[in-house]
């Protein structure tokens, strides 16, 4: 565990509403975008990364403690707000890491504001429409079922969540799911234009997928790989969609290596 692992809550006021985040560590700025089910707080993964990076974990607008932009209708709206937020902290550039739905937001940011981003890490990212399979639709599952499907298997779910999720967790999922539905009800979790737009993106990109991801098919990793010129796929063994919980050390190493490899392209952030 890193020594400088304190992640403290910070709130930034934008004209469009407040954005809450956790922030800690030092070094190049690394922004982590959470899954559709919300920001679970500081994880071991985040703490590990604080040894090399200034880690910022925002509640994306509409999720958690951030104000809800009731006017927002698309994932791209969220991406614009998140990028604005991140650029305020790191005007010279930041590493961008997105988990699941957060990966979808990150990919949209990469298309619209490539110059703001130093490197990209997509972990089980939504955003592209698989051709041979489907993204698991959380709207057709109970919260508990959906989260269980996000783990490698039931034992892993029970190990991390327990038989019954806490009330706080259920409240977080409920609040998050509404915002997810507001911007990604249909099409669910993809943007058919995104694949075309990504073809112009030259960012060094790591595409990290859990071997047993049942939420976003591995096929989507291959689609991202085909679209992004400078990308590589990394498959994490014995992990499902929630790689950050099931293989935090391996994931931290993958992220650190990817972002450090591209460190010459970055400044130290604002």
């Amino acid at each position: 565990m890193a020594e400088n692992d304190q992640l403290a809550p910070v709130t930034m006021s934008l004209a469009t509403g407040n954005i809450s985040c956790l922030m800690g560590g030092s070094g190049p700025t690394l922004v982590c975008l959470h899954h559709s089910w919300g920001n679970p707080g500081a994880l071991d993964l985040h703490r590990e990364l604080t040894s090399s990076f200034r880690v910022i974990i925002p509640d994306m607008p509409g999720w958690g403690g951030s104000d809800r932009p009731l006017w927002a209708r698309t994932v791209r709206d969220i991406a614009i707000l998140v990028n604005h937020f991140a650029c305020t902290f790191a005007p010279s550039g930041y590493h961008l890491v997105g988990f699941g739905f957060g990966g979808y937001v990150a990919a949209e940011i990469a298309c619209m504001s490539e110059h703001s981003v130093d490197s990209l890490v997509l972990i089980g990212a939504a955003g592209l429409q698989p051709e041979k399979s489907e993204i698991l639709d959380q709207m057709m599952y109970s919260h508990r079922q959906y989260i269980e499907e996000s783990f490698r298997d039931r034992d892993s779910y029970l190990n991390h969540i327990g038989e019954e999720p806490s009330q706080d967790m259920r409240d977080l999922w409920d609040h998050s799911r509404e915002m997810t539905a507001r911007v990604s009800w249909k099409p669910y979790m993809f943007n058919r234009r995104l694949g075309e737009l990504l073809k112009n993106v030259e960012l060094p990109s790591a595409l990290i997928w859990g071997e047993h991801d049942k939420i976003i098919p591995m096929e989507v990793a291959e689609q991202y790989h085909a679209a992004l010129k400078n990308s590589a796929i990394h498959v994490v063994k014995n992990a499902g969609h929630l790689v950050e919980l099931e293989a935090p050390e391996e994931l931290a190493a993958l992220i650190s290596n990817h972002c450090s490899t591209n460190i010459d392209q970055v400044s130290q952030g604002g």
Binding site: M139, M140, Y141, S142, H143, D174, R177, E178, T180, A181, R182, W185, K186
Partner: protein, 446 residues
């Protein structure tokens, strides 16, 4: 008093296995339409239309239709088509649509045109009603649940304007955009058909209906919470500066009448058998809670007293919240519903959720409902679940010959005036207004 007739038009299929306790379970939005037999569907659609014709002959003032999607408990996915047919094949009864699910319409101009055509073909007999729909409908027609309430309100405003303001003009709203609003067909009734709003649990909708002075029709909810929900309507009305009357209150409840008590119980128990509405307590289908609780569909903390009922809460996927809230309030949690159809039937009979009997036993129980709730409009919900055509026709005959005349007398005694006797918009008596009741004695003897 306005007296209407209603059935959900269940898809009854003895062959598919989806029928009662002996077949496969009926779980909401899990059944493939591979089981659907269009020939059987043809028989059933025509049966239900025939029953509506007979209901008119028997003296009902209104023939009510409703709409659900991708489910066997209601064949009214395209309710407006049935309404258009009724407009042509019936003569006198109002055609009451409770209701079109506004948020799932991406093009409410189509709806404005369809309803106007039905109103014209029926020569002004349409009563239009609008609902927000359940989670099932949002899923089936893929309408974003968080915008359900916004779309409901905007579609309403759009249709009213399309009916009342001469075009052409533009409509640029939040959810709907039209560069040319100028529907050539306009409603027969001036300025437009009456609008009634049905509902079960949303306080938002009740408040909205009260603000618009639209009669609110409670759908098969338990008596005391229904009365309290009416009180909420009245509170809002007071804030809006008007007094409510019976003309603002409607109530749908399950009533079956039969030749003897044995037949009545046999048929009455069929309310909860077969492909009956899974929102009904004790029925043989199940809802999936997360479908009924889609994100943002209904404001979680703004529900009517009707949701105090365990059965109602459970049917809307809120059993856990219900238990928690009751315990927090220091109240005893209702026991789980009875396990057998017979117990369920008796339980529901005791609390007036089902009224089934001979005219002699049904009429006093209907009186109790009228005295408790004082509605100006009622709808008898019959012929549902596993009930056969014969069950329906026996009941309709007895309703026409005995129950409806008695109900009209009770309504006079209790001064229960419907929205065709007193205008809900103005609270003024309607000239020549009545409940459109024919001479039921003549009809019954004809």
């Amino acid at each position: 008093m306005f007296v209407g007739y209603f059935t959900e038009r269940p898809y009854q299929d003895q062959e598919s296995g989806y029928f009662g306790a002996t077949g496969r379970s009926i779980t909401d939005l899990t059944m493939s339409n591979a089981s659907y037999d269009p020939r059987l569907g043809a028989d059933l659609y025509n049966r239900y239309l025939d029953e509506k014709i007979y209901a008119e002959e028997m003296g009902f003032d209104g023939l009510m239709l409703n709409e659900h999607h991708s489910t066997p408990f209601c064949m009214g996915g395209v309710m407006n088509l049935e309404a258009a047919i009724l407009a042509r094949i019936t003569q006198r009864a109002k055609i009451v649509l409770l209701g079109n699910i506004l948020p799932i319409w991406d093009d409410p101009l189509f709806l404005a045109e369809e309803l106007a055509e039905i109103d014209m073909i029926s020569r002004g007999r349409l009563v239009t009603g609008w609902v927000r729909g359940t989670g099932r409908e949002s899923v089936a027609h893929n309408a974003a649940a968080p915008y359900n309430w916004e779309r409901f309100q905007e579609a309403h405003d759009f249709i009213i304007k399309a009916w009342t303001q001469p075009g052409p003009y533009r409509w640029e709203g939040d959810h709907y955009h039209f560069r040319y609003v100028n529907p050539w067909s306009r409603p027969y009734q001036d300025p437009h058909p009456p609008i009634w709003i049905p509902g079960v649990m949303s306080r938002n909708t009740v408040a909205w209906a009260a603000k618009h002075r639209y009669p609110y029709v409670m759908l098969a909810t338990e008596l005391e919470p229904t009365r309290e929900s009416y009180e909420y309507y009245t509170e809002v009305a007071k804030e809006e500066g008007y007094e409510t009357g019976t003309q603002h209150r409607g109530y749908l409840f399950k009533v079956h009448v039969d030749d003897n008590e044995k037949l009545a119980e046999e048929a009455g128990r069929k309310f909860v058998q077969g492909p009956s509405n899974p929102f009904l307590e004790g029925n043989q289908g199940t809802v999936r809670p997360f479908i009924q609780n889609l994100p943002g569909l209904t404001q979680r903390n703004n529900l009517l007293p009707t949701m105090r009922s365990f059965a109602a809460a459970a049917s809307r996927g809120r059993a856990a919240q219900h238990k928690e809230e009751q315990e927090k309030a220091g109240k005893k949690v209702e026991p789980p519903k009875p396990e057998t159809p017979r117990d369920t039937y008796i339980d529901q009979t005791e609390k007036y959720s089902i009224i089934s009997g001979t005219p002699d036993t049904v009429i006093p129980r209907v009186r109790h409902v009228l005295e408790t709730l004082r509605p100006g409009s009622i709808f008898f919900w019959d012929g549902d679940g596993a009930m056969s055509h014969d069950d329906s026709m026996r009941s309709l005959r007895l309703m026409g010959s005995e129950v409806i005349p008695a109900v009209r007398e009770i309504a006079k005694e209790l001064d229960l005036k419907g929205p065709f006797e007193v205008d809900p918009q103005t609270n003024k008596p309607i000239e020549n207004g009545d409940s459109a009741a024919p001479n039921t004695e003549d009809l019954a003897n004809s």
